[in-house]
Amino acid sequence: MSHTIRLTTPLTTEVLRELRSGDRVLLSGVVYTGRDAAHKRIVEAMQAGQEPPFPLEGAAIFYVGPSPAPPGRIIGAAGPTTSYRMDAYAPYLIARGLKAMIGKGKRGEEVKAAMIQHGAVYLAAIGGAGALMARSITEAEVIAFPDLGPEAVRRLVVKDMPLFVVNDVHGGDLYQEGKAAYARA
């Protein structure tokens, strides 16, 4: 039976150990956005000895490139993008303190191994529910790479963002388990 668990960033491995694949999570606190181009820049900068644009320890990264905020709105539609494109960078960031990734779609074996080794989790947001997801975002501010437009790094404050645990720190994988439970020969 799955549970609904409230989490607040910054996250610790100790708290994440309680999560199991299939659990529902309502996430609150600061979440940083980043997708393809931002990940490339962040990792290249760190490899060159520079600081990342936000503290990685305990951080949650949301793979999203929001649509422009209409007048009077905090943000536009803000659902997850497909995560595997960030797989090349994720293990590096996990080894340096990243604790949660929010996206949609399968992760590679290296990312899963890094999550188990360093105690991080992968949370799925519902793909294509961008208007719904925007409701859980209470603040949004571009903090790095404004030239990337929708791909710029944003600092979001979220309140009860609805997510599912896909990969937990124990090796559980909801994409495999859920599919196996409903597959017919």
């Binding site: 649509s67 779609g105 719904l132 929708p150």
Partner: protein, 282 residues
């Protein structure tokens, strides 16, 4: 001899701009109904919750004039131009692109088009991909189809050997869905084109996505394959959002046509549940 009917490309531009907004903000009614119907077929509680959230998302998008999905797509435009139409007022393709430019700006849609290598965003969601065909009559039928990257990336084209036949076609379609898994935002819709050539199959697979869900395919051979593929896809267990369940696809559209004696082309265009397309007749 009929007198050509003049249509100003400015009308095409303005129509494209308006349809870009409608397409990204308003879930087509057939898709909405299919999502609602699929709730009854879904055995997974999580699957049902995802489907309910998708319907709620469509309501929020409509009521708050927000795009359904932050990926507002690369604008694919189909233009069926009547052969008795005389286009005036400038370059047709330039007018279409101007319509995309204006529509994406006016409706606060995300610009998602960039240079393939530098990844520099073009800044206005152009160039659009435009498919032009000539048909009888004196009207223009146009469709605006914003195509998201997540589902497009999971699409495949196969040049099968004739020996692989119908069995090979079915296996490749299911293989495509299995490989895509949760990535293309299921429940998905599949555009499947068999026959033709390499390029023609891809275009027809995309065009097949314009059909209404649950519309009857006039080709009985294609209709039978649609039903069989839909059942096979929904046996994969992938389910809504890929979290496990019965409803992996809302529909499969198949288009079959003859091909070269040496060939068996197959194109599978994967479409997410935000199956955005709006049309107009000018």
């Amino acid at each position: 001899m009929p007198v050509p009917r003049e249509i100003d490309v400015a009308l095409v531009r303005d129509t494209v701009a308006e349809l870009c907004g409608q397409a990204d903000l308003l879930l087509p009614e057939d898709v909405r109904q299919a999502l609602a119907r699929s709730m009854a077929a879904e055995e997974s509680p999580v699957g049902r919750e995802v489907l309910a959230r998708l319907i709620e998302n469509a309501d929020i998008a409509r009521d708050e004039a927000m795009p359904m999905c932050q990926d507002c797509g690369l604008a694919v435009i189909f233009l069926d131009i009547g052969q008795d139409v005389h286009l005036v007022g400038g370059d047709l393709i330039a007018a279409v692109n101007q319509g995309v430019r204006e529509g994406y700006e006016r409706h606060y849609l995300r610009k998602s088009v960039c240079h393939p290598f530098t990844r520099q965003n073009t800044g206005d969601n152009t160039p659009a991909v435009v498919h032009v065909g000539i048909v009888p009559g004196d009207k223009i039928h146009l469709w605006v189809v914003p195509k998201g990257g997540g589902s497009e990336n999971m699409s495949k084209v196969f040049l099968l050997t004739p020996a692989m036949g119908l069995k090979g076609v079915k296996e490749r379609v299911i293989e495509t869905v299995e490989a895509a898994g949760p990535n293309p935002c299921p429940p998905i819709i599949l555009g499947v084109a068999v026959g033709g050539t390499f390029d023609d199959a891809c275009r027809r697979a995309k065009r097949a996505l314009l059909r209404e869900l649950d519309s009857l395919n006039p080709d009985p051979e294609a209709a039978a394959l649609e039903a069989e593929l839909l059942e096979l896809v929904n046996h994969t267990g992938i389910g809504p959002a890929g979290l496990g369940g019965r409803v992996t696809a809302l529909g499969v559209f198949v288009d079959i046509r003859p091909c070269h004696i040496a060939s068996l082309p197959l194109a599978v265009n994967v479409q997410c549940h935000a199956a955005r397309h709006k049309e107009a007749v000018l």
